[in-house]
């Protein structure tokens, strides 16, 4: 018989410093190269830019050291690198557009949003001591999320841009509330599914070897579908609608482990999307562009033509294997090159080599999210982490897929890169949450991360250093008296955070994470 034992625990803070250095170097280097290659001098606000990027790195590192010592060392550096590269390319497109005679200054604004996003992420890490607190706000999150989702539909507040009704405008500020709704709904789905997944796992009829759920349990899925289709119809945005429905189906799958939910979900969405194509010309155009991008009448169509998409593809072709180099391509010829088509702009300047590296960074980020979901001990944290990681990965897939013509083009943003404050801020908040969850996922049991589970006789789940089993709601291990009176014993037992009964099986799933020795004859 073999035993599973964890290796020595590393906090990873030293690795984080090294990665942060690289990340800042990438952002600053890209920015400097844009200036050097386009104007033979450093950009004029280079100092401010370098200072803000380095400041973000230092502040976040210190906050993580202070409040989330065991947090994943990859999250912050990778995100900072993406954000820095994004800022450099946005600045590069500003220069290109200005040279074309269209004054453009998205760069400084994006820099401000970056600083704001990082501050909010730090605030999340500091203020939220334990991600499980969020579970209390399950239904508040649902209501707030749905309100934000429908906010752009309110007349007077909502604004229609490029055919999609996704923005609200208050005075000079405009915001995409769906980005924040994404986080709130992930919290709601996690809280809802962790309590209700047992029912949703119940088996129904078996058709073609596929275990279907019971018909009466389809309610929540139908509701999510209706909301997603409602968003598609009223806000005319395939991307947001796809994201919400995909998030729900993915979390449902994670919660229930039933592939049938995914198949049912995909079929339902396909049916809804097909209906939308037939009913709305705006959506139909997107399909047309996707399927026949290179037709000359579609390319030359005045509105809803494929010019943007095809120019993006031309840009990718110009980039080739090694890229044109910062400031050497023509990404500014594509419409919305700094938001929807930032991927093709990057492909043009950095080439396939650079673009694959960037996609790998996203891949690693998503992997970290799923890994921490495996490691974290509570069901809510698992679902929330996997849901948030899923949104990041899914957005990348939808954007890159759209730009490369794998799927129809939609209005989602490339996380951390695309110009646009709402998306950047929302994604930084997601990183704050993931840092918090990863801290409790990687924290060794001795410091309060583990809980003693002992319902089964056959398996004694123990943590040898169950010193810190009493992990209070504030997430800090409380000091425990040693060898005190028997009152302290009752204290020990009662203070073990009571996990709801339906969490029990996932406690068992990762017993090997925090059980040092379980030896059975």
């Amino acid at each position: 018989m073999a035993t599973v034992a964890p290796s020595r625990i590393r906090t990873g803070r030293a690795a984080e410093v090294w990665l942060l250095l690289l990340a800042v170097a990438l952002g600053v280097g890209g920015y400097a190269l844009v200036g050097l290659n386009t104007g033979d001098a450093l950009p004029e606000d280079f100092g401010r830019y370098a200072l803000i990027l380095a400041g973000v790195a230092v502040v976040l590192h210190l906050v993580v050291r202070w409040r989330a010592r065991y947090a994943d060392p990859l999250l912050v550096p990778l995100v900072l690198a993406l954000n820095g590269i994004g800022l450099a390319i946005i600045h590069r497109i500003d220069i290109g557009m200005t040279a074309r005679g269209i004054p453009f200054a998205a760069g400084p604004r994006q820099l401000m949003w970056t600083a704001l996003g990082a501050v909010l992420a730090a605030a999340v890490i500091i203020a939220l001591r334990d991600h499980r607190t969020l579970r209390r706000y399950t239904f508040t999150a649902m209501v707030a999320g749905l309100v934000l989702l429908v906010l752009p539909m309110t007349p007077g507040l909502g604004v229609n841009r490029n055919g999609a009704q996704l923005w609200i405008e208050v005075g000079p500020l405009s915001f995409q509330p769906a980005e924040i709704a994404k986080i709130l709904l992930a919290i709601f789905f996690a809280g809802y599914l962790v309590t209700n997944r047992d029912v949703l796992t119940l088996a129904g009829p078996k058709i073609l070897g596929l275990q279907l759920p019971r018909v009466r349990d389809l309610g929540p899925l139908l509701l999510a579908w209706a909301v997603a289709i409602g968003v598609l119809v009223v806000e005319r945005d395939l991307g947001t609608s796809l994201l919400f429905f995909g998030l729900f189906v993915a979390m449902l799958y994670v919660a229930t482990e039933r592939a049938s939910w995914i198949i049912i979900g995909l079929l339902m969405f396909a049916a809804g999307a097909l209906l939308a194509v037939n009913l709305f010309p705006h959506v139909a155009d997107r399909f047309d562009i996707w399927l026949n991008a290179l037709d000359s009448d579609i390319y030359n169509r005045e509105f809803g033509g494929s010019g943007q998409l095809v120019r993006g593809l031309f840009g990718l072709a110009l980039g080739g294997l090694m890229g044109a180099g910062w400031g050497e391509g023509f990404p500014h010829l594509t419409t919305h090159a700094n938001s929807d088509f930032i991927v093709s702009a990057l492909g043009e300047e950095l080439g396939l080599t650079g673009l694959i590296a960037i996609l790998l960074i996203y891949l690693v980020l998503a992997q970290r999210g799923l890994r921490m979901a495996i490691g974290v001990r509570d069901g809510f944290g698992k679902l929330l982490a996997s849901g948030l990681a899923f949104t990041l990965a899914f957005q990348c897939f939808v954007v890159v897929g759209g730009v490369t013509r794998l799927i129809p083009l939609t209005g989602l943003t490339m996380p951390f890169m695309a110009a646009g404050g709402s998306s950047l801020v929302a994604n930084w908040i997601i990183i704050g949450l993931l840092v918090r969850i990863s801290d409790s996922s990687r924290r060794p049991a001795a410091e309060g991360g583990g809980e003693v589970v002992g319902a089964e006789t056959a398996r004694i789940a123990l943590s040898t250093q169950n010193e810190g089993t009493g992990k209070g709601p504030d997430g800090a291990a409380r000091p425990r008296r040693r060898g005190g009176t028997s009152a302290a014993v009752y204290d020990t037992a009662d203070d073990v955070p009571r996990v709801p009964a339906n969490d029990a099986h996932d406690q068992d799933d990762d017993d090997d994470q925090h059980t040092e020795v379980v030896e059975r004859p």
Binding site: G325, N466, G483, A493
Partner: protein, 160 residues
């Protein structure tokens, strides 16, 4: 700037991105192999994680200090627990460190805890009592390595 420098900077930038990616993957790789599977028996010597700062004083006592608790008789016979710096609660209650499903065992039956460099056993008012050797335990009494503690049908020993 000369063409050569521009090209070198361009390639250097790509190298830098890949350095970040590969460094990230190196960090990730450590995590993939985060647990080690050990053959039975090597567990006690091989898998013990580095004790954290506050536990070191507790575990750095003399060589007579027991390091594990072994169930030698009863339904759980053969089970071992690694002893750390904290008390082990024994009983039928699911929250106990060692959960005994024994009809003669109370919900919170006994406690084994370290104090003043030794391990002590204490009965927590159980119905059927805790025995150290052949004497019934009431107040906390020190436990020597190897002496049997009987709880219901279960016998526990501390071992080095």
């Amino acid at each position: 700037m000369s063409e050569l420098i521009v090209t070198l900077l361009r390639l250097g930038y790509l190298a830098l991105i890949w350095l970040l990616v590969l460094s990230a993957i190196a960090v990730l790789r450590r995590d993939v192999f985060g647990t080690r599977v050990l053959a039975r028996g090597s567990v006690l010597t091989g898998s013990k994680p580095r004790p954290s700062a506050q536990q070191r004083p507790a575990s750095a006592r003399g060589s007579q200090t027991p390091t594990r608790l072994r169930v030698t008789a009863g339904p759980l016979s053969g089970t071992t627990l690694q002893l750390g710096g904290s008390a082990v609660l024994i009983g039928r209650a699911p929250g106990s460190t060692l959960v005994l499903e024994d009809d003669y065992c109370s919900a919170r039956h006994a406690r084994i805890f370290p104090d003043q460099g030794r391990w002590w056993v204490e009965d927590l008012g159980s119905r059927n009592g805790t025995y150290l050797g052949s004497t019934r335990v009431h107040e906390a009494v020190p436990v020597e390595t190897g002496s049997p503690i009987r709880i219901g049908q279960t016998i526990i020993e501390l071992q080095r």
